[in-house]
Symmetry: D2
Amino acid sequence: MIVVNFKACVESLGKKGLTLAKICEKVAQESKKEIVVCPQTPDLCLVSKEVSIPVFSQHIDPVDPGSRTGHITLESVRSYATGTLINHSEKRMKIADIEYLVKKCRNFGLTSIVCTNNIEVSMACSLLTPDYIAIEPPELIGGDISVTSASPEIVEDSVKKIKKINPRVKVLCGAGVKTGKDVKKALELGTEGVLLASGVVKAEDPEKALRDLVSGI
Amino acid sequence: MIVVNFKACVESLGKKGLTLAKICEKVAQESKKEIVVCPQTPDLCLVSKEVSIPVFSQHIDPVDPGSRTGHITLESVRSYATGTLINHSEKRMKIADIEYLVKKCRNFGLTSIVCTNNIEVSMACSLLTPDYIAIEPPELIGGDISVTSASPEIVEDSVKKIKKINPRVKVLCGAGVKTGKDVKKALELGTEGVLLASGVVKAEDPEKALRDLVSGI
Amino acid sequence: MIVVNFKACVESLGKKGLTLAKICEKVAQESKKEIVVCPQTPDLCLVSKEVSIPVFSQHIDPVDPGSRTGHITLESVRSYATGTLINHSEKRMKIADIEYLVKKCRNFGLTSIVCTNNIEVSMACSLLTPDYIAIEPPELIGGDISVTSASPEIVEDSVKKIKKINPRVKVLCGAGVKTGKDVKKALELGTEGVLLASGVVKAEDPEKALRDLVSGI
Amino acid sequence: MIVVNFKACVESLGKKGLTLAKICEKVAQESKKEIVVCPQTPDLCLVSKEVSIPVFSQHIDPVDPGSRTGHITLESVRSYATGTLINHSEKRMKIADIEYLVKKCRNFGLTSIVCTNNIEVSMACSLLTPDYIAIEPPELIGGDISVTSASPEIVEDSVKKIKKINPRVKVLCGAGVKTGKDVKKALELGTEGVLLASGVVKAEDPEKALRDLVSGI
């Protein structure tokens, strides 16, 4: 599985976001691989109506419906999305709130991807039984260092420790993935997919970038 | 002007939110009064495509586009909305962020409504020159007390002090409004409209409630 | 071990806090039981200089020293305290920050007590290997219900699951403890002590309340 | 007035903080100028007992005493401090909370210094009538640029606009001050003192640095 996080970039905004999602859909259909898109929250409706691949939310606020002006509830997101990122490095959450959201996703049938920053936090979050843990070692975030050339042991070690604690949790490699070669390596290290953003969103030719990425599966 | 804040209520979610917005549009057109709707953020796209009355956002995060996963930028909201609430009592903001957003709204041509909790804060925020200040005296929020029966002097005093400091700022009565009589009173006290939520969203018959409200204009 | 959280109550402020800490010291010495006090942060210095029992902090901010005006670093607290509460229900923290603080406490030789709100979160946090987990079932917080009369199975179950995951972690009963009888029950259920506040801080006669509590050990 | 913010630096921690405060006291007494120190919160007690110059807090949380574990109330700080910084650039606050704290400081007789980031925010905050506004133009924060060489018009303009709105508010220059020459210039531009940190705290010889600074008054 390849999860493409659109972040809040200008390149993934509104109609550009829709175009990007359409490209993801095209490559997914042609390659018969699973690609998930995470559009910007106000674009969830637009994108979900126009593409047939899974659409996930980038974030959900840990609150129930009611007098919560400006909050994003799971209930409002699920009209358009079938899963969500939780605790992304750009939107860290309290442990009690992560637990609340993972449980709520399970009750509502949404796929949960909890992002984590190191092995200890990955292990702790795996006990909450989200569908996925996306490990984002800070050493690899946003840089040019790829998981193939640097620290493969962090990924491998994380996968082993997570699986030992909770075999039901699947692991995504959440940083250091730029190319099909990186995807291949990430899968060899035991992950079940990758979560990435700039490698696609900021690519000069997103379709070409995606084709390269899926070639690694 | 009547601004209807949909909050994060189940009654204003997804298709229900669209139905509610359609009712607002109908009453606005028939009465030839201005009604603005503030749908839940993920529903902005859905609602804005289907109604011709102004659609405002409930909140915008004080950040520019970029690596801001899960944040709601003005840039993403403006595809669907022509204005926004800022600093609602359920989403209070830092003063530096309110200033940043009011200025950004001005630059992008969005209408800004800054909510405030007392006279001192109203006066301070009026210096930032938002389009509107919505005064929400805590004494009146969420209760059954209406501005017609209680504390009309708070509203009158706020309007005078805001106008003295910055005559360009328009004032909305943001609490204690349930009926057309309340709207009438709010306008007599010097405000240029009302901001309300439960009086419409939670009404057994929202259309009837809205007709009553516009009758006060 | 009995940990007395002074909270931010007027009854535990400044000189009153010192008097309260002196009472805790007296009862600890007479009963030869371990009592730990958690004064208000500005009183840490005052209290730590005057009592010989352990003094813990109520909270530490997850930041290193530097340009952090108004933040409470571990480095500033350790002049006066030998341990700290982390993630108290009134000061919930991000999972990444809890992990950072538990590790930092270990490196600096401070005792860490991580507060948790339910079994899942307790299990997750036990993997971070704090010295103590203080379980605070929301059902028991602040109410008159005591752990002896209600939900003993929650406490027992939490202890078992935490110990299974990480036998090195000790467990405190963090809610529902008012009397020596409750302390006795909490220990029977497998905990190694209690964390309490109002039962002592708000007691008409704190010394009497403490004597009763230690009688349960 | 020279206000020295100790921040959370290692150079101002515990006993080092006390030594620094003693140096400030010495220079203040010799020069007969007013120097205020803002130690780290856990050191407020230590420093306030040992020096006779005014001791201010770096921050206060906008809450009343009670069940507020880990929060810093005004009530707990006033045992040791006679004033406080509010809304420092490293601890920005909500407008409603700034208003609450300024009013509370007034009621309790504490001196309030509200930090602001630009002219608009300075003007807005001046309406809340704090004792001081410390203007911190982001252009000048933390850099080597001093107010004497760069942007004196920002400071002059801020002072004029603040005084016009609320003549009772005094203005401090909160950035770009390193030397006595800068202090002199800041006073010429209409401010009534300076707020600074690294220029003293990180100085090789803080006493020499302070002597130079007071020479500008």
